[in-house]
Amino acid sequence: MVLRFNSPRFALLAFSALFAAIGGTVACGGEEGGLRIGAALPLSGKHANVGGFFRNGYELAVAEANAAGGIEIEGQRQSIELVLYDDKSDASISPSLLERLIAVDGVAALLSGYSTPLVQAQVIVPMRRGVPFMNAGGASQAIFREGNEWVFGALSPVESLASTTLEWLMWEQDHDRLPAPLRVAMVWQNTDHGREYRTGVHTVIERHPDRFTIVLDESFEHLSSDHTSLIVKVRSVESDVFLSDAHEPDFLLQHRAYVEQGLNHVAVSYGARGPERSVREGLGEAVAHLVSAQWWTRDLPYERSRQFVELYEGEHGGPVTEYYPAVAYEAARGLIAAIARAGSTEPAAVRDALMALDLEDSLLPGGRLHFPADSRYQIRNRCVIVQNLPDGGTRIVFPPEAADGPAYLGPGR
């Protein structure tokens, strides 16, 4: 057989070879021929570790649905097949893999990858192609554009990290454990994430000017080579509370400088940073009493959360210390529930079902999975405030209905 360069067969082979080269391996779960949902995940490259958590979460939700007999589509029960590609943590590859999932694999809906820049690159595809896309990997509101009707977010906005932290501080003020107004020193990474954290802080403080006074509000560059001068600046403004929004490398360096300079605040929080194992490895006991806002924690007293922990740790060993697999699991569960309610794989029907979805047994803080139209279909749940304990464990300190003990408050100035 002669293969001509201009033949369709050659084009198909070339297309397949190209995708094999850029997309890495394909992993599937469930039986072939069933309903397909897909994702391009960072399974190698700089986000490989988190990408692995996402894969575990997605696979768990699909396995659970399949074990329950799959879902009914147009009168027939179908198993769910999960199609995954490795985008190598590369935002330039990720969108083309989503195109492949839609055009070649024929997925009915998409699940997101991880990290705001990667998800921002991904969402262009479902919005253009009109395919439901469930995002569990990027919290930035920049992902949810004006007029969006295809992208749904299971991760509350970054602003929630800040607003829940301040709500907790107000709760402590209400219980006479903290004075008012509190002097707040806030520093934030100069990225979408950091800017949204800052907006969250300002939004709450504008509503409660009698509770807080901002004495420092300054940005810093991501991957800064030193944070000592910034920490000296924090020391010079004499604050009660220190809030920072930083990714892990900057957090490690910043908190090192904080400890070296001997600062004391009644509360110190680095956004979502704090309980990770890698953080304990790098800073040891110095992270005791840090307060962090989390999108999920294994100690949440919800039945669904307990079931997830049991399932996940049974499958992968434990303890599950990161929020990633839980949010990924919940996002996939929500998407599967919406397809089941739509009873169809028709994109508009699934989209409408997602718009109307309201799961009241969610494992997320607040216990509800719902995508409000007024937040462009991004979930708006409160986060959960967790404090690191000196023994290496964590404790939920807010909201009160989930708290398992009072927070330790530092000596302050």
């Binding site: 700089k46 490989a48 080579s225 030193d226 001068s229 360096l253 790098g282 040891g284």
Partner: protein
């Protein structure tokens, strides 16, 4: 005044780190006239080897220097012998691309072996500090500064007081004349690349005392090293030390008195200014 002193001292300590990580880059450029884009790879390897030795065997990072420095020398000399040497008469851009390729390979191998998670290590003195009156000094940073100064003295001694140093300087000044006077230029090149890489890997070891590492670590500091080398004089080890400290102090004072966000801008303003000044000097 306390704040000013704290920031000033912090700037000096950071600056000595900048200098230490730039010595190797300056030495290699001085002798081989090669901009070593693989420098970031050696820095990163230094941190990873140190982290691995600490994580697996509990070896203190400072003891790891006994492993990383010789390993860096061996790897550097091997890269020079097997790759750079073959392109010795090619246009500079060829070597530049080759070494960039080496960096990409190392980076991807590190991703495969260690993944993209931030790795950091904790020793008994990692978070210790020393109070000198109102100023607090970080013990790890003092240690790294001491090694930076020691590295400078050792390098200056080798270059000024030993036959090997004489050979290095001779090849740096005029390769042809050095060869005519019986200096084995090929071996001097390998030695220079080896020493430069050993300095980069040992800098990585010392930086592991306070920085976390991912395979992208080298990229974070390579540009800073370039700034220091260009500012200090491409072949001048003493100039590199002074430039490193100057840059560290300028960055910290800018961050404190103007805005933290301008910290990195200082490096690049300095780089541009230094390049323009050199151009003016050359034309003048």
């Amino acid at each position: 005044m306390t704040d000013f002193l704290s920031v000033l001292v912090s700037g000096v300590l950071v600056g000595t780190v900048y200098a230490y990580m730039a010595y190797g880059l300056g030495l290699i450029y001085g002798v081989l006239r090669v901009v070593n884009l693989a420098h970031g790879a050696f820095l990163t390897l230094g941190v990873y080897v140190t982290w691995w030795l600490h994580f697996t065997f509990g070896i203190d990072p400072l003891v790891s220097l006994l492993v990383t420095a010789p390993l860096g020398f061996g790897l550097g000399a091997a890269v020079e012998r097997t790759l750079v040497f073959r392109l010795r008469d090619s246009p500079p851009v060829t070597t530049l691309l080759l070494l960039f390729g080496v960096w990409l390979i190392v980076r991807n191998v590190l991703y495969l072996v260690f993944g993209g998670t931030d790795r950091s290590l904790l020793t008994s003195y990692s978070l210790e500090s020393l109070a000198l009156g109102p100023v607090t000094l970080s013990i790890p940073r003092i240690v790294v500064s001491a090694f930076s100064l020691l590295g400078f003295v050792a390098l200056a001694f080798v270059l000024k007081r030993t036959w090997a140093g004489l050979a290095l300087r001779a090849v740096a000044q005029d390769r042809g004349a050095a060869a005519l006077s019986g200096i084995p230029v090929d071996r001097v090149w390998a030695t220079a690349f080896g020493i430069g890489s050993a300095l980069a890997m040992s800098a990585g070891t010392l930086m592991s005392l306070f920085y976390s590492v991912t395979p992208e670590f080298g990229a974070r500091f390579l540009l800073k090293s370039f700034c220091v080398v260009v500012l200090g004089g491409l072949t001048n080890i003493g100039g590199i030390l002074v430039a490193g400290i100057g840059l560290g102090v300028a960055e910290d004072l800018t961050a404190f008195y103007i805005h933290t966000g301008f910290r990195d801008v200082v490096s690049f303003l300095v780089l541009v200014a230094a390049l323009v000044m050199r151009r003016v000097d050359a034309e003048g």
